[in-house]
């Protein structure tokens, strides 16, 4: 009973932290963007004015009408509470400006599968590949394989991430024309569950996905390598070796298995940095995901869309790390002992 209570307390504490973090992130983003000079309607009106040299003075009623529709006529605190109310109670995030008048939640729903598909697959692949290569580099720490992997990882972590993507686009996309460099599928295929479309989607995902993997694998290689080197000096590994276990078992069940715990936590932590990288990759490849939408929304001062994208990524990242926090007691008996 006592055990059960303590575990419940652990879960409650994690959930409370989760809700608070989301609320804080939302509030900070909200006020940060509103404190910038400008709003979508004025930005749009200004652009029209410049482009067509029309005098908007007569159209100020129209501008006002738009401002009203976006709720910009109200005070900032009113806007804050009504945004929260609509988001939480009605799951409505307001009209977008970049794709007016479609509501933000619709735009997000459209783009989520692309981003999540590309990201989750690439990030998990990078994590798995990084762990395996890192374990190999740690196990054979005096071999050329280890120095090759370590050197690669060190170099990659020194160059800006988009450089890798640019190089890939230049070589594989433009020079050799092996792979498509823009969009998520070929327009000639009908969207849906048919083989040509799926193949086209996979083909388009290769370059952005490989760019993400090539970069993020580096960090996992370095951290796993050093973890494994430390684990190799542990008494339980020496004893396991003295038991006469085959090398594969030593490496996987005793070495990697113990490196898995810190690396799972590391995966949760790294989720927070994903969105920033995603923005660049999607913009570069004109990939119809959240990052590309966010980049356009920022350019157009589209508060509602910006808030929608930011909130969505924060909620996703926080949920993922909450899940990992709650899973940790399951994979580490010691954490389990502490929380229950």
């Amino acid at each position: 009973m006592q055990k059960y209570k303590r575990f419940l307390f652990y879960v409650l504490r994690k959930v409370a932290t989760y809700l608070f973090t989301i609320w804080a992130a939302f509030t900070i983003t909200f006020f940060l963007f509103r404190s910038l000079p400008g709003d979508p309607v004025s930005a749009w009106a200004g652009a029209l004015q410049q482009r067509y040299a029309v005098n908007m003075a007569g159209g100020s009623e129209m501008v006002e009408a738009y401002r009203k529709q976006f709720g910009l006529d109200k005070s900032i605190s009113e806007q804050y509470f009504s945004w929260m109310y609509n988001a939480i109670v009605h799951q409505k995030l307001g009209p977008s400006f970049v794709n007016f008048p479609r509501p933000v939640e619709e735009l997000l729903a459209e783009r989520i599968p692309w981003t999540v598909g590309l990201l989750s697959v690439s990030i998990l692949l990078a994590w798995v590949i990084g762990l395996l290569l890192g374990a190999l580099a740690g196990w054979l720490r005096n071999s050329w394989i280890s120095s090759l992997l370590t050197n690669y990882a060190v170099v990659i972590s020194q160059v800006p991430p988009y450089l890798v993507a640019v190089m890939l686009v230049l070589w594989l996309g433009y020079s050799w024309r092996i792979l498509p460099t823009q969009g998520a599928w070929d327009a000639q295929y009908t969207k849906g569950f048919n083989l040509p479309f799926i193949l086209s989607v996979l083909k388009h995902a290769i370059l952005p996905s490989v760019s993400i993997i090539l970069v993020s694998v580096a960090g996992w290689i370095l951290s796993t390598r050093s973890l494994i080197v430390n684990i190799l000096g542990e008494d339980y590994l020496i004893y396991a070796e003295a038991k006469g276990l085959p090398t594969s078992q030593l490496l996987l069940r005793y070495g990697l298995r113990n490196a898995l715990l810190p690396q799972t936590t590391g995966l949760a932590l790294s989720l927070g940095f994903i969105m920033s990288g995603q923005l660049l990759i999607e913009t570069l490849f004109l990939y119809p995901g959240l990052g590309e939408l966010l980049a356009r929304a920022i350019g157009a001062f589209d508060f509602n869309t910006i808030m929608g994208c930011v909130m969505l990524s924060i909620v996703t990242v926080m949920t993922a790390s909450l899940i990992i926090d709650l899973l940790l007691p399951l994979i580490d008996p010691r954490v389990r002992a502490v929380v229950s």
């Binding site: 339980y236 396991a240 038991k243 006469g244 085959p246 113990n258 008996p333 010691r334």
Partner: protein, 365 residues
Amino acid sequence: MQVPVDLGLQAKPKGPDTLIDVRDMRIYYATTAGEAKVVDGVDLRIYRDEIFGVAGESGCGKSTFVEGLLRLIKLPGYIKSGTAQFFPKNVEGKEPDEPIDLLKISQQDMRKLRWKHIAYVPQGAMNALNPVMRIDDQIVDAIHAHVNMSRKDAIELMLKQLNMVGLPPYVANQYPHELSGGMKQRVTIASSISLSPDVLMADEPTTALDVNIQRIILQELKEIRERLGLTIVYVSHDMAVHAELADRMGIMYAGSVVEVGTTIDIFKRPLHPYTQGLIKSIPKIGGPRERLVGIPGLAPSPLAWPSGCKFHPRCSKAMDICRQVAPRLGVVEEGRQVACHLYETQPKVESENSERTLSEIKLHV
């Protein structure tokens, strides 16, 4: 040799049965400051069914010596030279009396010998269990690495071993952090000998434990040995533990063996000045807690051993020859070897009939 019958002393007609015969074993570490000669010429014979104690101050190379026999030395350490002939029973694909040189066989062959023929309990065995695996899984995987056996049979064998050291069956389902240090230690020792190995090498297995648990574990080891006829190589810096447990002992100093003999002989009449110092430094039970006047000076560095006899800077009996000529381990009397210029020795490595039984040792401790 005179044999008092009532003590149960037996002299085998053909001499003791050698299990491991180590000659001139050297293990060096390559460091930026040069080669560290951590094990620097060890000569030892270990007989079947005895408890052999390896003694000496910390840092003299005891652990490295045992790790060398198991081929667990990692770079920058390496086996420089030497042989260690091992005479196990019933190794697959080998003639019964044909020895195996532990220092020369491939890692693959070594893997097959470990646990099944040479069991090892490493120093710091408190942390020898994988923190994220249940006890049963870590024992069954070792059994399965060597014999074909159903999981059910392997579990049964494991439970029998745990029971032998008085551990309840539920321990098998627990994780290491749920057990006390003494329990972990007993799990490690008991499971290590589940396949009846030829020899168990235990490196300071009780050092981190409190005295009572230490005593219990030593008692269990003695019982196991008497029941199963196991050979045990017991490494410890603690002379009192050897007095309680070992049949014969080897004293190591600066990477070599300086004296070998039965435990009773060594305690009654230590020959080597270093051994004499070690015995003087054993704290007396119930005596006043005072700074012990054991051995003056500091242990030398394996990067630069002293010339001649490596003990000469700390030896009160050092002579001129000691600074120039290294004394060789030689036989002074039946079953007694020493490496010191104070004694006339024969260059013979080992004599016969030096085996004594446990009951005799017990009487004197």
